[in-house]
Symmetry: C2
Subunit: 388 residues, 2 copies
């Protein structure tokens, strides 16, 4: 059944080769003091840093910076951003980078004026925001997380070996995001593939749940088909504008709340992948791909109808080709073949996981119960072992 829900996504997206031209007009809506956050040196190498700072100067902004936002932003980095934002009385945070930089900007946005430790309040205790929120805008350089159009923010605490995501409300969504597919061209293939699988897994996390067939699931199938089609072109030719642009557009819709409306969702692959990330600091998308096949094969008997539908509607398996369980299994086989075609990491060992870590990783997994089967700790350890 399509349950009750509220839908609102106020983020304004500027999409296309010339999207950056809109940055000035958007910045003009906010105060003078801007915090610019970004990752490593790639935006300086590409020239994007120079373009953005020139626009900021043209707009008469006072700019302070937090560079060096890492792929899995840490809680210590969050504290640094909060200090910088407070000391400079920041009116607006501009994130230039991939999903981690956007996630980080949102974390600073809600944490800068939080009166207690934001890690405790917003990540461990998952409370609602009741303090001042600094508005955020994004210039995106990588497609994957969907952070450009949602309230999600994932922060890693290496001391406690926890990687936790909080999905904030629409008052925390970026006010605008600038999506130029060409900015993703310079990304190494490994990162591009990881981003593609992150998108795909966002969709399956929301798709593999519920027995109903509401509109969300049909939209999810459309997004998956588009992504599979475009990803096959992009791995052959990363500079194919149409493929990269459709991947970028799909990423936003895969995780901007639309396809979760009115239905249950799963998110167990993300919970397991995030715990792997907390231990290894591995690329997020690859932590998901490494555990996915073991997870979905284990889940299949508990959600047979949906896995059969997935095989037929997404992978074009002939529905008359055999009993439901065979049709469904053929779908997962085709999914695995596509993952290998993308060059995804298909086992945990390649990410630096060793046998002695498995119990600890399992301890860091937040259990979810929206999918077809709630896993016990023992089942998670077993799944990790199969994924080694």
């Amino acid at each position: 059944m399509l349950g009750n829900f509220t839908y609102c996504n106020p983020t304004r997206l500027y999409f296309g080769e010339d999207a950056l031209e809109n940055l000035g007009a958007e910045l003009a809506k906010y105060g003078k003091n801007v915090l610019l956050v970004y990752g490593g040196g790639s935006i300086k190498k590409s020239g994007l840093y120079g373009q953005v700072t020139a626009i900021l100067a043209d707009c008469g902004k006072e700019v302070c910076e937090v560079p060096g936002v890492m792929p899995n932003p840490t809680v210590d980095k969050l504290y640094e951003g909060c200090r910088t934002a407070r000391e400079n009385r920041v009116d607006f945070i501009l994130a230039v980078g991939g999903g981690s930089v956007c996630d980080y900007a949102k974390a600073v946005s809600v944490s800068a004026w939080c009166e207690e430790d934001p890690w405790d309040k917003y990540f461990l205790r998952m409370e609602d925001v009741d303090n001042r929120i600094i508005p955020v805008g994004c210039v995106l350089t990588m497609a994957g997380t969907g952070s450009e159009m949602n309230g999600g923010s994932v922060i890693t605490n290496h001391a406690s070996r926890l990687k936790i995501g909080h999905v904030f409300g629409d008052n925390v969504f970026p006010k605008f995001s600038i999506l130029n597919p060409k900015l993703t061209y310079t990304l190494p293939k490994y990162q591009m593939a990881a981003g593609i699988y992150d998108i795909f897994n966002h969709i399956t996390e929301q798709y593999f749940s519920g027995t109903d067939d509401n509109t969300s699931d049909y939209l999810a199938e459309g997004l998956m088909k588009s992504l599979i089609h475009s990803s096959r072109i992009a791995v052959q030719n990363p500079q194919d504008y149409e493929a990269r642009s459709n991947i970028m557009w799909t990423a936003a819709w895969a995780l901007n709340t639309l396809i979760a409306q009115g239905k249950r969702t799963d998110w167990m692959v993300h919970m397991i992948g995030q715990s792997v990330g907390a231990y290894t600091d591995a690329t997020h998308g690859m932590t998901l791909s490494a555990v996915s096949m073991a997870y979905y094969r284990a889940l299949l008997p508990h959600g047979l109808d949906k896995f059969r539908r997935f095989a037929v509607n997404v992978w074009g398996v002939d529905p008359a080709g055999g009993p439901a369980v065979e049709v469904a299994a053929e779908g997962l086989k085709r999914m695995e073949a596509w993952m290998r075609e993308l060059g995804l990491v298909m086992n945990l060992r390649e990410l630096g996981v060793t046998e002695d870590m498995l119990e600890g990783i399992a301890d860091g997994v937040f259990p979810m119960d929206g999918g077809y089967k709630a896993l016990s700790r023992e089942e998670i350890v077993q799944l990790l072992r199969e994924s080694l």
Copy 2:
């Protein structure tokens, strides 16, 4: 190619059986003077009028009313609404009804403070809004037009026999819309079927254009499949909550700008249907169904690849079942069978059109060139004749 675009849809949707509970909190955001607009007596019969006016009273609002908004709102009715809005210094317009009432509310919203004739400025000349806009909210009682989540407004001028839609920007979108699928239960089957076909045609108008296969087209296919599935259940059992709720949800996404992003669109069926409407005052969805088959059969050779894809992806036609033109034609055949199953009007005569009207109807058609073939006036007359 996924072209450049800006996407923003700020409308907040409250969906579900209890959605009306959110009306008070939304109204509290706006000023004291509320203009309540609605259609005939159905909302009084159903009790909805009483519920809404009780909430308005609880919120301490001063309410003025424009009842009697007709299915194809006229320009004279628009003038009446503008006078009422100005005289009562209205701060907010609340539309309670179907798409026509929502369309009407938006027309009053932009026209009340327009210094010249709003018909000339906003409908004949299609200018951008440069005057004060009165914010609008909707309580929807019928699924179809998508007016609850977009800037569209269609107004009919019987004197000049023109029915014209203006798609306004996101500053005119409803601030919120309340979508309770149960409010659509009381709709006569004829109106329900007309609404369903309006939704479907919104999708095909955007789908049948362009040679690219961008994400929008995959999303469009998902929406069509969901709608076909749910509509078949709803015509058998109009009180099936899941079917009616998915139809209502699909209606919003069929025409809230998403599936048009980055691509060309057609809209010729709507242009022809609207001209039929201006002559006959027939139900909008039925004017579309009456001309659709003749139009799409004529269009097929000019957009063969897309019609073949439509057949395979939406109607499950076997792609190996024959040459492309046969596969494509089989798709249209299945679409026609589905339309007959819904009980749609499949010819113009049933809507009161006579041979002598055809030339005049053709004169009232605004020509579009985004589809697979731009039609000449003669071709439009011919198409109308085939649809008689």
